[in-house]
């Protein structure tokens, strides 16, 4: 009886929830838990935080607070300890349009405008008629854009590709790479999964070859060897040659991403498609590919990011993309100032960072959405 009393217990008054001790929550608790939880952690906070703050402050100081924003090269010469943004300012048109003729530059502006509107329209989940926008951007826009830029249609005067340069060239190379690589990559991926030995081995060889060599050797190949492959007298301009090499390279990488998507699909999906009696192409188009591509959107976007960064390599074969333009402008003796090279590269770096980081955030966003889709 006594024993039972020691065991028996029933709570009559329920304890209310109390706020946590002040030292463990709120700003103080957060600081303690995240920054100073152990002596080693405190040391780390002080040392690493100090170094970090010092370098971030130094970068901001150089880029913004101490930078030269107005004036000419004299102003930059006078201030060696800050960025020389006036250099970018005076050369800005060249960095964007290259040597594209001035009166025709509205065409470039229009193409860029349509591009950005189209991309946002396609990327924004709730946009109306999103599919149509996507289809337009992938299928029609490239042709219209090329026509607008090159001319020869609608009575527009022709602007030779040798005059293209700067940011617009970067956009052209990356967009062609992206737009060609998707369909070609899908075909290669399907071919690689085919059970027909000739098709399969052709695709494997193609993919592994382009993925196995550095892009720069491909561009050299396109520049020096490709003309030999075509009948005498058939002449490509240099940009087109580079574009062919770049697009094949891009397609090989895209193929591997798409293959990942095809492999991730449940076998049941293939069996279900077969059991419906659909032909190969119909089942791929209606059932398999939509799912496979959706599953690898993050991978596709990451490939885009890689390709976008890789466009800079065209400068090695003499095409002046954004980086090439800036790199060339730095050599201008009028601007032979200590701060100019760093400013130029910082400008290009910020441009690329904005695009790549934006794309990677978007891909992360899609990834999170896809993940929750799987959980439910």
């Amino acid at each position: 009886m006594k024993n039972q009393n020691t065991v028996f217990f029933v709570r009559k008054e329920f304890a209310p929830s109390r706020p946590a001790p002040a030292s463990t929550v709120g700003v103080l608790g957060w600081i303690r838990n995240n920054l100073f939880s152990t002596p080693f952690n405190s040391l780390l906070t002080v040392v690493v935080g100090g170094l970090g703050a010092w370098s971030i402050w130094g970068a901001l100081d150089w880029l913004i607070f101490n930078a030269v924003w107005v004036g000419g090269n004299e102003a930059c010469k006078a201030n060696p300890n800050g960025a020389c943004w006036t250099f970018i300012g005076t050369r800005f048109d060249q960095f964007v349009y290259g040597f594209y003729e001035k009166p025709e530059r509205w065409r470039v502006d229009l193409v860029i405008l349509v591009l950005f509107v189209g991309v946002f329209w396609t990327g924004w989940e709730k946009a109306p008629a999103r599919r149509w926008a996507g289809g337009f951007m992938l299928i029609l826009f490239p042709w219209i854009a090329w026509g607008m830029l090159y001319g020869g249609i609608f009575g527009l005067p022709i602007v030779e590709t040798s005059q293209w340069g700067g940011f617009i060239l970067t956009l052209v190379v990356s967009l062609i790479g992206i737009i060609v690589s998707l369909p070609l990559g899908i075909l290669l991926a399907l071919g690689r999964r085919s059970n027909m030995p000739i098709i399969n081995s052709t695709c494997v060889f193609f993919i592994e070859f382009w993925r196995g060599v550095p892009l720069i050797t491909i561009l050299f190949m396109a520049a020096y060897v490709l003309p030999l492959f075509f009948p005498t007298g058939m002449n490509f301009d240099q940009l087109l040659r580079a574009l062919i090499g770049f697009a094949f390279f891009a397609a090989a990488y895209m193929a591997e991403v798409v293959r990942g998507g095809l492999q991730s699909l449940d076998k049941g999906q293939y069996e279900a498609a077969d059991s419906l009696g659909l032909s190969y192409w119909k089942s791929m188009r209606l059932i398999i590919l939509p799912q496979a591509l959706k599953a690898v959107i993050p991978g596709i976007v990451n490939t885009f990011i890689g390709l976008f960064k890789d466009t800079t390599l065209v400068l090695i074969i003499g095409l002046l993309d954004l980086l090439g333009m800036v790199h060339a402008a730095i050599a201008d003796p009028n601007w032979s100032i200590r701060s100019v090279p760093t400013t130029g590269y910082a400008f290009v770096a910020i441009t690329f960072f904005t695009f790549c980081y934006g794309m990677s955030r978007y891909s992360r966003f899609i990834e999170d959405k896809l993940n929750t889709g799987h959980q439910r």
Binding site: I199, G212, V213, I216, L228, T342, Y345
Partner: protein, 392 residues
């Protein structure tokens, strides 16, 4: 009627279709290949381009600013190939080591509980992987290393230089190992052998008696500490010959050229950002329950890492890590942009421009990179099949 049925049936026969498709593709490929070969031959004749690999034995006639093997302009294109290949392997090899160190450090920092540390690591990763590598190479070269003051501003005339940095790169003394240095070499070798033995012995002893032995600390002492002691006791037998600053220029000493430094820094820091992500993902992929189970068993944090977390994380990390190493090696071809004399810059660049045999030169260059790729994927297949977790 019957005839039509027969035709439809053979066209719908899947086996027949398979063969037909493949024959069509094969025919297309053969036609393409044949016309390319024919066009190429015709074009080469028209442009008077020689063919064949005979050029490898001809004199190159140009100089190369950095070479690991003796080289002079009188050497052959074959020698140029060797020099370029070695320079590529050098920058890639050092780059891999550096990228691994920085990458693992940043990856672990990203997982730190410390808010400041993890966020700074994150900033590093985002900046370095979202800016094109070529830009980073040009930045280090054109904006950082080249604008450094020249030797004449840095060094006083007629002085001996043991260490210095100028726009000519890092200058240090040449060193000659004297005879007595062999003691130190032997100590290092013995230290390594002894540590391997000690590792085995300690494993056996732990199996037999359960006692543990601090192999790492003692091993470090044997491999690093003891040789230093021997080195000092034997009278520090290294002779340094410093570089000399003449009237206009540096002479003697060892110089690490800025081209090498720029490519190395850019490759290592860029790849480190990707490696950091791989390391973070690899460690995060391990269920927290593994750590909890290990702790509940009473294992210390160090042992938990060594026996539970790292073995599992490495299985996930090593395959993508290997492909990053391959990427780094392929990316080292960008060195051509600043004329670091790697394989692409010397052989597929200068040599190609001189002899005009683009097809052969590029074929050789691409074969080198393709072989490296194949080796890497062979390694990855082997590794994956070896460490695959056994499941039902």
């Amino acid at each position: 009627m019957t005839e039509r049925a027969a035709t439809t049936s053979i066209l719908n026969n899947s086996e027949f279709r398979r063969i037909l498709y493949q024959l069509l593709i094969a025919a297309l490929l053969i036609y393409l290949g044949w016309s390319i070969v024919e066009n190429t031959i015709a074009n080469m004749e028209a442009r008077d381009i020689r063919t064949g690999f005979g050029f490898l034995n001809e004199t190159a006639g140009f100089s190369i600013m950095m070479s690991l093997v003796p080289y002079e302009p009188g050497n052959t294109y074959g020698r140029v190939f060797i020099v370029g290949l070695l320079n590529t392997l050098l920058v890639a090899g050092v780059g891999v080591v550096l990228a691994t160190i920085v990458g693992f450090l940043v990856g672990v920092m990203r997982l730190s509980q410390n808010w400041v540390v993890s966020h700074l690591a994150n900033i590093y990763v985002e900046i370095f992987r979202n800016v094109p590598l070529l830009l980073q190479i040009l930045f280090w070269y054109t904006a950082v290393l080249k604008p450094l003051p020249g030797p004449r501003q840095v060094f006083e005339r007629n002085t001996e230089i043991y260490f210095g940095i100028s726009n000519r790169g890092i200058t240090g003394p040449e060193f000659i190992l004297l005879e007595n240095f062999s003691f130190t070499t032997w100590t290092i070798l013995l230290g390594i052998l002894f540590t391997i033995g000690m590792h085995r012995w300690s494993k056996h002893r732990q199996a037999a008696t359960g006692q543990q032995f601090p192999v790492v600390f003692v091993g470090l002492g044997l491999i690093i500490g003891l040789p230093i002691l021997i080195f000092l006791l034997s009278g520090a037998p290294i002779e340094f010959t410093p570089a000399k600053m003449g009237r206009f220029n540096l002479s003697g000493g060892i110089t690490i050229i800025p081209e090498f430094l720029a490519v190395l820094l850019a490759l290592a820091l860029y790849t480190a950002a990707f490696i950091a992500e791989i390391v973070r993902a690899g460690i995060q992929a391990i269920n927290y329950g593994q750590t909890e189970a290990s702790r509940a068993l009473g294992l210390r944090n160090g042992t938990t890492l060594k026996m539970v977390i790292i073995p599992q994380a490495m299985r996930i990390i090593i395959p993508p890590l290997t492909s990053q190493y391959l990427n780094l090696t392929k990316n080292s071809a960008l060195a051509a942009a600043i004329a670091y004399p790697d394989l692409v810059a010397t052989f597929a660049g200068t040599a190609l421009n001189q002899n005009g045999q683009a097809l052969e030169t590029l074929a050789i260059t691409m074969t080198v990179y393709l072989s490296l790729s194949l080796l890497t994927s062979a390694f990855m297949n082997w590794f994956n099949s070896r460490v695959k977790l056994v499941e039902r």
